[in-house]
Amino acid sequence: MKNILATLFFAGISAFAALAMAAPAQFHIGVVTGTVSQSEDDLRGAEKLIAKYGDVAHDGMIKHITYPDNFMTEMETTISQIAALADDPKMKAVIVNQGIPGTTEGFRRIREKRPDILLFCGEAHEDPGVIQSAADLAINADNIARGYLIIAAAKKLGATDFVHISFPRHMSYELLSRRRNIMEAACNDLGLKFHFETAPDPTSDVGVAGAQQFILEKVPAWLEKYGKQTAFFCTNDAHTEPLLKRIAESNGFFIEADLPSPLMGYPGALGIELADVSGNFPAIMKRVEEAVIAKGGKGRMGTWAFSYGYTNSLALGEYAKTLIEKGVDAKTFRRKFKLEELFAAYNNATPGSTWNGGFYRDIQTNIEKKNHVLVYQDLYMFGLGYQKMTDVKVPDKYFTIK
């Protein structure tokens, strides 16, 4: 006990976390993310963990590695990269963010060798049934609940119409098409008019530039057609930037992006320079908010305050650390796991913002998976602040809409 107190004391007086690591960490946590070119936010989250708890190479706690850039074809490398973490006898938890193909098999290999290691997966890309079979905890963004919540937020802000912009390729993805249908149902229930608009696919012959030009030209026309109190939502990242630009300039609402983050669309649309604050989300938010208000988008544009990928890396790392310090390992995790604790970790990782969500439910068998959690963050409207959307209860009927 004295030791712990002493350590805490040192940590308190020392501004640099590295000094607190003078004694080697008792256990290690492995973090696997993409590289800057693939998924920068995930990597920044891991770097935040290293800044807090130190790198294993310098007697710290975090062992950070990256998976291959072309992970779709180099699955073999992904697997052995993940499995290699079990080689460290002090390893107690492994977090893979994002769970690209090969994660499941990497986890199985760790499990065979070290059944005690906690295996967490942020944003699983593999099929739910696949990742559930190996991970102790898998996380995905809760697009089902968001289908209702985005409409609810639009209603709360006073929107009368809702425009959903997408194209056929995206509508063939199961979750995206389900979310669209939930949005339509929610609009009907809440008294908004739902409009489905098609925009060109940026991967088609028109390219990104053509698709963006289309949005730039059409948004004023849509506002003309559906009125000023129209909220917009698009499924494609490339469409987001021109959409934000037009909404900031004129009218309409932009509740949140498909993958909401202050870095999604805003820096490009409003020309914000962020290089000096990379990884520091409060500072990023401050700068983006100033820019949005300056452009006249106050109260009409929103986002998640913290990047989803960044939070996954950070919160899962923190959560794993708490569990290990409590003596929980993979064998006892199932008994000790509490959803509230997970959300507490997420909330702690994002000061000011809150998270909510629930267990994944298989639509065919209606079986709830207790190791697969869907999460979403509170909505932040620039100029208005948090909207407390995480406190809104999503009616059950929306979870069964196909």
Partner: protein
């Protein structure tokens, strides 16, 4: 030939494996992996890849170069696995059934590939490479649109919920490692996939036996000099097609063995790199476009994958940043494949130069 010339010749002949040996010798201590991890990982990769690499030997013997067309075999194997998954047959039985189903497919693919390659004599390698791309498109079309609509697939775990098309990742949980663990053996904490190695051993024996058959002899003759072989009455075109068919069928089994070890299948991507990696491993083992032995296969897999395993961690510890480690791995691994190809070209030139020098030494130099 004097002694120093002999030694330098040894270095020139084995330049590629030696470079890999040096790179891994430097990288292993830096990577800080434990020996048991490295040995385990190497054993896994050896058991996983040996079959695929061995399937390249027979076309080389028949003078058709490196068969990038083995990707077709890999596709056939995957189609077999999709069916078996759909019927929910698990374990070794599932693997066996997948192999049986995919064999006729692989024979068909190999036959078509062989016919095309016969039309493109002298450019077999690049033709088979492009053929692989073409067939990849066909495969994706069939699996993404044909399966579940034209081809009956019932399992909801496989089908996209729109009713047709196979999901992105196919879980092979039921068959996972069923061959590797058929005969369990654990020495000092290292698991040895005995059954897989037995299968590989049988396959090596097959290759050795095959060389002794009339067909093998015909293939060797065709490979060395097609014109002479034809004038001796050997049916050259038929022999070449058979060599590609055998290679494709073996690649199909190789992919099944590979995927049972990996445990999950990227439905649309797993086969893509099968050819490139197998060929790279073979080249690293010191084989050439025209000559390859079983020894090349095993040294190649060990050296190539050793570098693949240790270079990311070595890069991380050397440069202190995880993502730079990844870039380092890509740089080392692919750079070294390019190096292998360059060294081969250089070696060929060197051989030619030497032949010329000998010729001069015997004649002009004497005067």
């Amino acid at each position: 030939m004097n002694k120093s010339d002999g030694i330098s010749q040894f270095f020139i002949r084995n330049a590629v494996p030696l470079v890999f040996l040096v790179v891994s010798a430097v990288a292993i201590p830096i990577s800080q992996f434990s020996p048991s991890y490295l040995i385990q990982e190497l054993l896994i990769r050896l058991s996983r890849n040996a079959f695929l690499v061995l399937s390249l030997l027979i076309p080389i013997m028949a003078g058709m170069g490196l068969n990038f067309g083995m990707v077709l075999g890999a596709m056939a194997g995957q189609i077999g696995l999709i069916f078996v998954c759909d019927w929910n047959i698990v374990g070794v039985q599932g693997l066996l059934l997948a192999a049986i189903i995919s064999t006729p497919l692989a024979i068909l693919f190999g036959f078509l590939c062989g016919i095309v390659l016969n039309k493109a004599q002298g450019r077999e390698m690049v033709t088979s490479y492009i053929l692989g791309f073409f067939m990849n498109g066909v495969y994706q079309l069939v699996v993404l649109y044909g399966f579940g609509s034209l081809v009956p697939i019932v399992s909801a775990k496989l089908l996209l919920s729109r009713g047709y098309g196979i999901r992105n990742v196919t879980n092979l949980d039921g068959m996972r490692r069923s061959l590797d663990e058929l005969i369990p053996l654990n020495i000092a904490g290292i698991e040895i996939p005995v059954a897989t190695f037995l299968l590989i051993g049988i396959f090596c024996l097959f290759v050795l036996w095959f060389r002794k058959t009339k067909l093998g002899q015909d293939m060797r003759a065709t490979g060395q000099d097609m014109v002479v072989a034809r004038s001796a009455g050997i049916r050259v075109m038929r022999t070449r097609i058979i060599s590609i068919v055998i290679s494709t069928v073996l690649a199909c089994y190789g992919q099944i063995v590979f995927l049972q070890n990996v445990g999950t299948m990227n439905t649309y991507n797993s086969h893509e790199q099968a050819g490139v990696f197998a060929i790279a491993a073979l080249l690293v083992g010191g084989a050439t476009v025209s000559r390859a032995s079983i020894l090349n296969v095993f040294t190649g897999i060990i050296l190539f994958h050793l570098v693949f395993i240790v270079s990311p961690m070595a890069g991380k510890y050397l440069l202190g940043d995880a993502q730079i480690g990844e870039y380092f791995r890509v740089f080392i691994s692919y750079g070294i494949i390019a190096l292998a190809l360059v060294l081969h070209a250089w070696r060929r030139m060197n051989d030619k130069e030497r032949a010329r020098a000998q010729f001069r030494g015997a004649e002009g130099g004497a005067a």
